[in-house]
Each structure stands twice: as C-alpha cells, then as structure tokens.
C-alpha cells in the first residue's frame, strides 16, 4: 500500500478558496459573538439573585467540590434519570452524538489553526469512525424523538420550540454526513471502512455526478450549507429551547447537592433582630439564590416532575413543571419583573399550599431542579404578607404558645407514659445525667392517641433491649418542621435555636426518633444552626438491636402469624429524603411467620401519603384522596398488614383504611408495634382503658 496508516489523515478546508474561508471565519466569530451575547444577557438576569457567583473556590470544603463534580459528570454525561424511558434514552443518544461531533469539530479546528497536529494515523482513523458512529447515534435519537412528537402531535402539553430545534439538529447532522460523503467523493480515501456512512454517500455522489466539477460544486455548496446551519444553530442557541444545552450542564455543576428534604435558609433571624436586614426575604424573585434563577433556564419542560407529583395525580392545582415554567417566563420579562413581582403573584397560593414536600419532583428532575423548594419560597412570601388561612394560623399560633402544633398543654407531654409499668417508664433527662441515646418522642408521638401507642411500643422495646436512653419529657418542644414547611422561617429558627440549646445543655450527641420529620429537622436542617447530632430512625436502632441479639424477636410470640403478609410504605421523609430504605425492611423480615411483599411504587419511588408539607394541619379542600390512592396501592398487594415508620403516614393510612368501611381492611401498624408484638406479651395495663 502506498499510503501507510501513518499517513491517514484529512485535508482540511481543502476545497474552499481563501476568500470563502475568510467569510467563513467572519461568520464564525459573528455567530460566536451573538452566542456569547445571548448567554451573557441571560446570565446577567441570573446574577440578579442573591449571593455572588464569584466565590473563591478555595473556600469550599473538598467534599463539597467533589459532590458538585460528581453531580456534573453524572447528570450531564450519564443522565441516569433519563434511562427509564425510550425517549429519555433517545435524548442520551442525541446528547452524546452531538457532544462527540462537537468535540470532533473542535479538534479539526485545532488541527487546522494551531501548530498542534494529531489528526493522523490510527488516531485519525478511530476519530473518523467514532464521529460516524455518534453521528448516526444522534440521528437515530432525533428520529425516535421525531416519531414520538409526531405520534403525540395533538397532545396539549407538547412544547413548541423543540420541533424547530430538532429539525435544525437533524439537518446539521444530515448535511454533515453529506459533506463527509462529498469530501470523500472528491478527495478519495482508502480508509473508507473507517468512514462508513460517508463512504456510502460518496458512492452515491460519484454515481450521480457527471464529472468532477459537479463534485467540487456540490462539496462547496454542502460545505456552506452545513457551515451556515451550524453557525445559525450556535447563534440561535441562547434564544430558543436549546439554551438548556448550556444551562443544564452548568446547573448540574453548581446546583446544591444537599438532601432533598433540607430547605434553604433564606435569612438569619439574628440579622433581622439586630437590624442588619430590614426586609424579610423572600418576597420577589430577586430574593432567590442565583442558582435557582439559573435553574429556571435549565428546565426543558420535560414533564417528569409532573408525572411524579402525587398532588397533581390527586387532582390538586399543582404542577411542578408549570411552577418552574412560570418562573422561567418571569425571568424572561427582565430585570424589573425579577426585582418587583411578588412571588405569590407568579406562583399561585393554591399551587403552593398543595405541595406535600414529598420531593418526588426533585428526585426525577434530569437537570437537578428543585420545584418543591420554589413552592416553599412562595409560601414564605405569603406568610410574610400574613396570607395564611385559619387552619395554618391556628397551627402556627399553637406552635408559638404551646410548643406543639396541636395546642396541647406542654406539661402533658408525658401523658403517654402514665400507665406504663415501672420497668418500662422512661428515664427523664436531668442535669448531670448521662445517657447514650436520647429518645425523641415528637409531638405526634406524645399527644396523639394513635401516636402514643407507637411511643409506648418503642419505649417497651428499648426497655426490653436494655438500651441506655433518656427522654426530655416535658422539656421537649416541636422541632419546628411544621413551621418551616408552612413557610414560617422565623418561627422555625426560633424553635431550632431553643431545641439546640436545650440539647446542648444536656450534652446530647445521639438521638433516636420514630418520626422521620423530626429526624430530618434534627439531623439535617439543624446543622445550618450549629447543631451536630447523630440522628437515627427507630427502625435503624431496632435493626441494630436485633443484629447484636439485644432484642430477641419471635421467642415469646403470643399469636401465631404463620403466613401473614406484610407490605411496607416508605415514608417520603425517611426513604426519599434520607435514604433509609434497608433498615425497616431488615426489621420486618425478622418477624417470624411473616413474608414481605413490596408495592409497585416502593423505596425511593414510594408515593406520598399526603400529610407532608404541613398538609396535616390545614385543609385546602382541593382534591383529596392522596391517602386513599396510596392505600389502594397497598391493598393490591393483598397483604394483611401495612407497615410504616412515620406517624403521619400511619395516621393517613388508618384514615384511608377506615374510610373504606371494610371490616377486614388492612391493619396499619408501625414497625415498632409489629416488633413489640413479637418480643414480649403485651403487659402494658390500662393503655386502652
């Protein structure tokens, strides 16, 4: 062979006269300028949000930087949240196709314009093959997307703007292959197997051309067509739906990677008390963090959040997609709108209050947007404007006056323990008393009759297992989770500080609780205020106790539960927000004679019971049945028992079960109660009198 592998390569811009090249480069720079201008115009609006984007990187802890990088790599390049559907995979194909071609084009540019030289030899051959494969991949992806679009063309939620974008991309891809074919037909190549598509097209050109001058003309025309399409694409990108190609990767890089159950801290109450702050944010869009404003532009209106939202499914006037979309439209209106339009004007109160903060929208968003957080921001704005309804006002007033959302006398927090036998009575914390665990009962567990049963069960288990624990008793106050979800940030901070102070005075380090909402606040949200507690769920502790033998399950079972089937409902604040999925299942599988059946929507895909986001405390009367819907899902497993690990879920499921009116409805039990039944005969006298 005359041309050895080392000589494999490509002549770049071979057929293009110098004057054309000059024009080409001019247009190139123009289009890049328009592109940059477009991005900068949008960026200026993002940066109207609070906090400076120019933070010194060295001030970030290494762990945070790694989290960001990991998020970026995962969601920009691997896009795992899109793997669940064909269309999602099509997007991955489109992205990778375009990305590789983009890198390839830049390599060609570098080869041509800089002293660097690498596009030759084996590298070039692989380069060429790769580009062909990914080009096809991109076109296949576009094809799948186009077919879906065509099939759904009459659906109301079709987003305009993607049609032209996809068409443009398809044209660019196709003209690219045509260009390759034209080049090969013009210049010839013996390494055609490494440019399969181009080679096939080249054959076509050669056959169709009468003589070489046709090929020259065709190549030049296709070259110009491809170039103009590409430069138009580049210039147009910031102004259409394809902006997400820039904003989405950027957002996945900078987005806050904190757990979904942790809400932002919009201000410090001390700053308001000291006079440093003279308004209470957030009121307008500009009060939001600039990364949140960026996130609006990262949204592609894919609608996965809507598909996941249980409130929307239950008929409430809440659409997470619509929420982000409205914010997107608002930012497009410019600086005045961003700085002046009140949040509750953009996000309707009905929508904001319908949210149960389950976090499903945040979990499924492929570009890491948090629609849930936006709804809370709207709530915050409404609370500042005193726009809360009576149920919310009642709950907040109770929290302020009595330290619990029910309004019960705080001196009755130990009523649940009144009839417990002495050996199960909890120890109360007092100055100087050291204990390993603090058992945090929570308001529901302390005051609600059903919740009190769970607290008694857990206290019994802890006593039987000989755990070294104590309780705050009447000193305990609500963690403030309800206040924060209602948007009363000031009250939450007040309560948080009070709790942190009390716990610190007692020297508490480890907390166990049966309520995932308490767990989330104490363990995650309190860290923003200087707390550093290790908080675990009671299922985790029970699992530990079973593993190390402190709790013997099934030795003295009173009833024979052979063949009993149990299904488990993952509470949102336990599973999705805090990733505690295994421990409850381990505990349930330790129950003798009991088999576990999973619901279809389980684990992190569990469907919300409807009580979160403080919805337990107020009633909008707008489309209900979230708990009924979830209960029906549980019923389809045909299990006898529905187990859960959250007092809100317990209450909701019981309500749903009793509302069916069936005499053999599922028994709704907390994990602690199920285990307690199997560890010791019930000896708590008077609990049900």
């Amino acid at each position: 062979m005359e041309n050895a592998i080392e000589n494999a390569g490509r002549e770049i811009l071979g057929n293009i006269p110098a004057i054309h090249q000059a024009v080409f480069y001019t247009i190139a720079w123009l289009s890049l300028a328009v592109f940059a201008a477009g991005i900068l115009i949008r960026a200026r609006l993002w940066f109207l949000g609070r906090c400076s984007p120019f933070l010194p990187m060295w001030k970030f802890p290494a762990g945070a930087l790694i989290d960001h990088l990991r998020g970026f790599v995962l969601h920009t390049f691997i896009q795992p949240r899109l793997h669940t559907s064909t269309t999602g995979l099509a997007h991955v194909a489109i992205f990778w196709g375009f990305f590789v071609l983009f890198v390839g084009t830049n390599l060609v540019f570098l080869e041509h314009s800089t002293p660097l030289s690498f596009l030759h030899g084996i590298f070039y051959l692989l380069f060429s093959l790769t580009l062909d494969i990914f080009g096809v991949l991109m076109l296949v992806g576009i094809g799948v997307a186009a077919r879906r679009r065509f099939n759904n063309r009459n659906m109301p939620d079709q987003v305009t703007g993607y049609g032209p974008a996809l068409t443009l991309l398809a044209l660019i891809g196709t003209t690219g292959f045509l260009l390759e074919g034209a080049r090969i037909s013009l210049l010839g190549s013996q390494w055609y197997s490494f440019s399969p598509v181009g080679s096939v097209i080249a054959v076509g050109f050669e056959l169709a051309a009468a003589d070489k001058s046709w090929l020259v003309a065709w190549h030049r025309s296709i070259w110009w067509l491809h170039a103009l399409l590409t430069f138009f694409f580049i210039a147009y990108l910031p102004f259409g739906r394809l902006l997400h190609a820039i904003t989405a990767p950027f957002h996945t890089l900078v987005a806050d990677r904190k757990p979904s159950g942790v809400l932002s801290t919009p201000y410090r109450l001390e700053d308001i008390e000291s006079g440093l702050l003279t308004t209470v944010p957030p009121r307008v869009t500009a009060d939001l963090h600039w990364i949140q404003l960026l996130s609006f532009d990262a949204c592609t209106l894919c609608g996965r959040c809507d598909d996941a939202c249980p409130s929307l499914a239950a008929g409430r006037p809440l659409s997470p997609k619509d929420t982000v979309s409205r914010m997107q439209q608002l930012t497009h209106q410019g600086k005045t709108a961003i700085q002046n339009t009140p949040l509750e004007q953009i996000l309707s109160p009905e929508a904001a209050w319908s949210c149960t903060t389950c976090g499903a929208c945040t979990q499924v968003c492929p570009v890491s947007i948090r629609p849930m957080d936006l709804l809370i921001e709207s709530r915050r704005s409404q609370v500042t404007g005193s726009r809360v309804n009576q149920g919310m006002e009642k709950t907040l007033r109770h929290l302020q006056n009595t330290g619990n959302p029910f309004g019960f006398n705080p001196q009755t927090r130990l009523a649940w323990a009144a009839d417990l036998p002495d050996d199960i009575q909890p120890r109360l914390l007092e100055p100087g008393l050291k204990c390993e665990w603090l058992f945090w009962a929570g308001c529901w567990g302390s005051f609600d009759e059903r919740g009190q049963k769970v607290t008694r069960s857990l206290a019994t288990l802890l006593a039987r297992a000989g755990v070294d624990y104590a309780m705050l008793g009447n000193e305990e106050r609500c963690t403030g989770d309800s206040a924060r979800r209602l948007g009363e940030e000031g009250l939450f901070q007040q309560m948080a500080k009070g709790n942190i102070e009390r716990l610190r005075q007692h020297g508490i380090k480890k907390i166990v609780t049966a309520c995932p909402h308490c767990l989330n606040s104490l363990g995650n949200e309190y860290t923003d205020f200087g707390a550093d507690f290790e908080v675990i769920h009671h299922s985790e502790l029970i699992a530990m106790l079973i593993r190390d033998g402190s709790l013997q399950v099934g030795q003295e079972a009173e009833t024979d539960h052979d063949g009993r089937r149990v299904t488990y409902h993952d509470p949102c604040y336990l599973g999705r927000h805090n990733g505690i999925l295994e421990a409850p299942r381990q505990v349930l599988s330790a129950l003798p004679g009991t088999s576990m059946i999973e619901m279809d929507a389980c684990g992190k895909n569990s469907q919300c019971c409807g009580a979160g986001g403080s919805n337990a405390w107020f009633d909008l009367g707008l489309g209900d049945g979230m708990n009924a819907s979830r209960y029906q899902q549980a019923e389809t497993t045909q299990a006898e028992v529905l187990a859960t690990g959250c007092p809100f879920c317990l209450s909701m499921m019981e309500e749903a079960a009793s509302a069916t009116g069936e005499t053999n409805a599922m028994a709704i039990k907390d994990i602690a109660e199920l285990i307690e039944e199997q560890t010791h005969p019930r000896v708590i006298a008077g609990a049900n009198d």
């Binding site: 308001i272 209470v280 005193s386 006002e393 007033r397 940030e489 000031g490």
Partner: protein, 292 residues
C-alpha cells in the same frame, strides 16, 4: 367624602403566669409582668386593617396607654400593618382605672383627629366594659358594642352585632363612632416571627399625657384585693365539670391539684339511657324552653 382615620385602642394585657403566696396573701409574681396583645384588641385591629384594605378608612393608628415595658406587644400592631403606633406614656406601676384610661385615650385620639375608634369588647380596662362607652361620651361619639362586621359609607358606620343564639342586629350611626369589636371568633391575621422582629426594631411613638390626666391615675372607688381564682360550682347541685382532657391527663399524672371527676360510662336499656340523658340535659338547662 374623605375616609376617616381609625384609631384602635387597647391596653396590652398583663399576662398572669404565676401567683405566689407572699407574706400577707397572694400576689402577682414578677415573672407575670409580661405584656401581650390580647385577642379582643387583635380583632379590633383586624377590623381596622380590613376597612383600610377596602378603602373605607384612610390610616390605622394604634393607641395604647401603657408603660414602656409593653413596647414589644405594641410592635405586634406595627407588624400587622398599622400605619402609626402611639403609646401614652404612664409610669410602670400605674394602676389605671377607668376614668384615667378614658381621659388619656381621649386626649390622644382627639389629637389624631380620627373619626372611628375601635376597641376589643373588653380589652381596655379590667374587663368592666366601661371604657369604650365612656370614651364615646367624651368624644361625643356613638357607642356600638359587640360588633361583628363594620362598614363605612359616606360618613356613616353600618354595623352588625352578634347577639345570643347566632342572631344579628343591624345598627347605623353617624361618625364619629366608638366600635367595640366582639372578640369571638378569633379571626385576626397571622404576624410572622420575622415581621415581629422587624417591627420591634422600630421605636414606638411616645406621647406624654397632660398632668391633670395623670392625676386621675390611682383614683379608685373603694379598695381592691386580688386572690387566686376558683373553680366555680353550680348551685344546681351538679359537681363542677370534670375539667378538660388536659386536666384529666394532668390528674392522671398527679401534676394538678384540681380534683377531676370522671363520670362513669353508662350502659343498659336504651330507653332508660335516653331518659337519663334528657334529664341530665334538662338539669343543666341545655334543653330549649318549651314552646320553641
């Protein structure tokens, strides 16, 4: 016709938290001297703010006769949206009687030139319900009590007042008027902790009362003595109600000294139970009078 200004008058309620036995009998513990907004005044302010939002009233001014220690309670008014908050400064140990309260308030109200005065039905004085009527007399204004809804139209105030059994009476009066707002149901807007903190940072306007009015303070008719309250018993012979659920729980835990009577659970013949129930209700006067 221009809209009147509305003055909301109140005396921040002293919150009694503990009652201790001193050498010569019970007294208020020092920890009790905390001032709070009370529900009646909050309802009155809510009425005024609603009128302003409807455009029927121009400015909402809150006036209080109280010592400096009540400023945090007054901050609540500003946080809720009052345009001005005034405090007539009196010494902290002043024992304000009706006459003094009325004189001090009237002086201040006249300075503001407001046409509408609102108070909680029993919020200003030691709940004798006298101050609002006296204020009306001094200001030559109409006195309207137990008001549920207020409307202002062309210099006239139209009210509906809530009376027993859910009925309403409708009254009209020419301005100026003193309106005592029914404190039930407690419908007033929520003021967030942050807004309250903001409001506390702004100082309250202080007004110095005239010396002659100051002299009226501590002019009491008769002597007053305070003793701990008691659970009332009914003369009809039935025992005191067995307390609320809270009381029962506390009784169970031995944390209350109230004796709690938990009635037995009755079972048996249905007609017998029905008879006993009706007798029980009749005894308590809960059955409607015959002929209704």
């Amino acid at each position: 016709m221009t809209c009147p200004d509305a003055c909301v008058c109140f005396k921040p309620a002293l919150q009694v938290t503990t009652v201790t036995e001193a050498g010569q009998g019970p007294a208020l513990a020092p920890s009790s001297s905390r001032f709070l907004m009370d529900a009646g005044s909050a309802c009155a302010l809510e009425s005024a703010l609603t009128l302003r939002e409807l455009g029927e009233v121009h400015h909402v001014i809150c006036i209080s006769v109280a010592p400096k220690t009540s400023d945090p309670a007054l901050a609540w008014c500003r946080a809720a949206g009052a345009d001005r908050v005034l405090r007539v400064d009196v010494p902290s140990n002043a024992n304000l009687n009706t006459r003094a309260t009325v004189a001090l308030l009237a002086e201040c109200i006249q300075d503001t030139g407001a046409g509408l005065v609102l108070t909680g039905q029993r919020s200003i004085d030691e709940s004798n319900g006298l101050v609002a009527a006296s204020l009306a007399a001094i200001l030559d204004a109409a006195y309207l009590s137990n008001v549920a809804d207020v409307q202002i139209l062309e210099g006239e105030v139209k009210i509906s007042r809530r009376i027993e059994r859910g009925h309403r009476q409708l009254w009209n009066a020419r301005l100026p008027a003193v309106v005592a707002v029914d404190p039930e149901p407690k419908n007033y807007r929520y003021v967030s902790v942050a807004n309250l903190a903001l409001a506390k940072n702004e100082s309250v306007e202080t007004v110095a009362p005239s010396t002659e009015n100051l002299k009226l303070i501590s002019q009491h008719m008769g002597q007053t003595k305070l003793t701990p309250g008691r659970v009332r018993t009914r003369h009809s012979g039935l025992p005191a109600k067995g307390g609320t659920a809270t009381d029962r729980m506390q009784a169970m835990m031995g944390t209350t000294s109230k004796t709690v009577v938990r009635p037995p659970i009755l079972r048996g013949d249905i007609d017998d139970l029905a008879e006993r129930t009706l007798a029980f209700l009749k005894d308590k006067g809960l059955l409607p009078k015959s002929g209704e």
